[in-house]
Amino acid sequence: MSVRDVVISAEGLGKRYRVGAHSPYRTLRESIVRAVRAPFARPAADASGVVWALRDVGFAVARGEVVGVIGKNGAGKTTLLRILARITRPTEGTATIRGRVGALLETGTGFQRELTGRENVYLNGTILGMRRAEIAAKLDEIVEFAGVGPFLDTDLKHYSTGMQMRLAFSVAAHLRPEILLVDEVLAVGDLEFQKKCMGKMEDVRGEGRTVLLVSHSLGAIRALCARAILLDAGRVAAVGPAEAVIAQYLAATHSDAADQAVPVRAHFSPSAAIRVERVRLLDAVAGGFRVHWRQAISLAVTLAVEVPLAGVSVGVGIRGPEGSHVFTVHHDDDGARGWDFSPGRHEIEVTLENTLRPGFYRVHVGAHRESGRAGHLFAADVAGLEVLGTTADGRPAVSSNTGVVNGAATWKGPQ
């Protein structure tokens, strides 16, 4: 691309944050006390608690391109967007931007429960950089897209969460800057509304606007972006065609292969009689120990047995990234008989219903004899499992649902 067509260019961008024991807040009292005690000392620069959220980041985006930014949590995606949106200053490096920038780091910024829907549309639109006249011209469109017409002059506090989210996205979707920076705002509302949002994003692309889109939803990146940037630990790990960058991301996100040997040292309590030798994830995504959101987790476990064992109960457990226990199931939970093993290799298969939220988990396998605790045979941490943020057909996980497992609920609002 010629230099003239480059609308966003970043060179050597870096952002340093202080972390650790010292909070970023100082108090006036402390500062005065320190100044009285040692009037000429300069505050000590504490180099230990320094973290580079972004380092040496350089790339260029041409006019009309829709570029995705992907990476793990904490890779620096949002920091990059915040710098380009001028919310925070870089510690080093420069970025040059040609054109009016609109940033969408969240929807509904500045929404006030005590103001009416109409007042909030104007307030939020103005905050996002729209002119009053622009908002007035688009008000009908915004309201219609959000489907809140009859409630326009009702206070926002009487809106349902869904209505608030739709109104917020609708204002944002009608932003018309030349360059749009979007952070993970597509996955709001119900499925039908998500489809509308994706459609709106495709319109934006069709209008030749330049978009930088941060998302965990690889499906959305695939659908909207021709190119993508992969950030890893604050640095650019890859830039190129979206499909290739996504493949690299998936390959790099997890070291665990879908089919792997389980070493003896993975066993917490090795047993001479029986151990796990191999574990395989069936229907793995891109060759990793990885499943789509809500995709059943089917495992094939190879057990190596040295001595004949009777009445063995085999269990599979899932633990959270910090070791929290999510659940453990045993093959005899429903009263089934224990399994008998003869010496040699045995493969068993188990399919777990996947109720996990997107994220990283550990898979544990264990066995004991029916006689309970004393009959404990072994337990082993066999693999790291990643649950992706998208379903097999590319739809994003419901983003506002949080926690370890997918919550499901039926609601009844105020009458």
Binding site: R4, R89, T91
Partner: protein, 278 residues
């Protein structure tokens, strides 16, 4: 851009470097300023049962209490003006000042959800906080206009100089406001200091007493407190109280200007780091 056109080119660099007030950018965000002021005012009156009445009651009640305690019981002199009007004419600018600096000092921290999500010149937040107190000021001022004829007080020709003191009031309030807003980001205990500061400041400001109770030689020095110049100026131009000394007025104006300029410069320094600290 080489090909012409009006496409803005923006270079993002690390903080620091030349202090640039970016006035053009402030002007470009005037609509946001307007909406934030409207939001603050609407919320304030929507959330109180008494609504706008509150703006009248607050200074009126303070006037009644002050008149009884200081005018009747303590018999504080009032430069020949009925004490009630005398005290009220001081309370009107004072209450605006006190409310505005309290709002402004919290503005950046209270606006954290905006500051961390969108870019705009941060000075808009304390400026809008100060401006949103103008409604209360106008209501209270209207009450003063009703009160004066009731007590037979009419302004003399000095009223021509009133806009000067209104300007000084705004300058001092904005100056102290941006100072406190920026300090509150850098130091989190500032919000505990503000109420104490305001209370202390009230007593060193000639609101309940005239400067003329001070020894003659000390009077100009009272001007070191820029609010002294404002309050004395309000009384002189509106109530026809004796003209404050030129020394006091000059000193108040100079200190007020200095507070404003240093406040704006300090705010500019803190501004670049606001999103990382609030």
């Amino acid at each position: 851009m080489i090909g012409g056109g009006v496409e803005p080119v923006r270079v993002i660099r690390p903080a620091g470097g030349a202090a640039d007030l970016r006035l053009a950018e402030l002007w470009a965000h005037r609509e946001l300023f307007g909406f934030l002021v409207r939001r603050d005012v609407t919320l304030r009156y929507k959330q109180t049962t008494l609504g706008v009445l509150w703006a009248v009651l607050q200074p009126a009640l303070a006037m009644v209490v002050f008149t009884l305690v200081f005018g009747r019981f303590a018999r504080i002199p009032s430069d020949g003006v009925p004490y009630a009007v005398f005290a009220y004419a001081g309370l009107v600018p004072w209450m605006f000042f006190a409310a505005a600096i309290a709002q402004a000092s919290q503005s950046l921290v209270a606006g954290a959800n905006l500051v961390t999500k969108v870019y705009f010149p941060r000075a808009i937040l304390p400026a809008a906080a100060v401006a949103s107190c103008a409604v209360d000021f106008l209501v209270a001022f209207g009450l003063l206009a009703l009160l004066m004829p009731l007590y037979g007080v009419v302004p003399g020709p000095a009223i021509a100089a009133f806009p000067v003191f209104l300007g000084l009031l705004l300058l001092v309030t904005a100056g102290v406001g941006v100072w406190l807003a920026a300090l509150n980001v850098a130091f989190r205990d500032v919000r505990y200091v503000v109420p104490f500061l305001t209370q202390f400041w009230l007593f060193v400001t000639p609101v309940i007493y005239p400067v003329s109770v001070l020894p003659e030689a000390l009077r100009p020095a009272a001007g070191l407190n820029p609010m002294a110049g404002v309050v004395e100026g309000f009384r002189w131009t509106l109530l026809g109280a004796p003209r404050p000394s030129a020394g006091l007025l000059a000193l108040s104006a100079a200190v007020g200007l200095a507070v404003f300029i240093t406040g704006v410069l300090y705010f500019r320094r803190v501004e670049d780091h606001v999103a990382d600290t609030v």
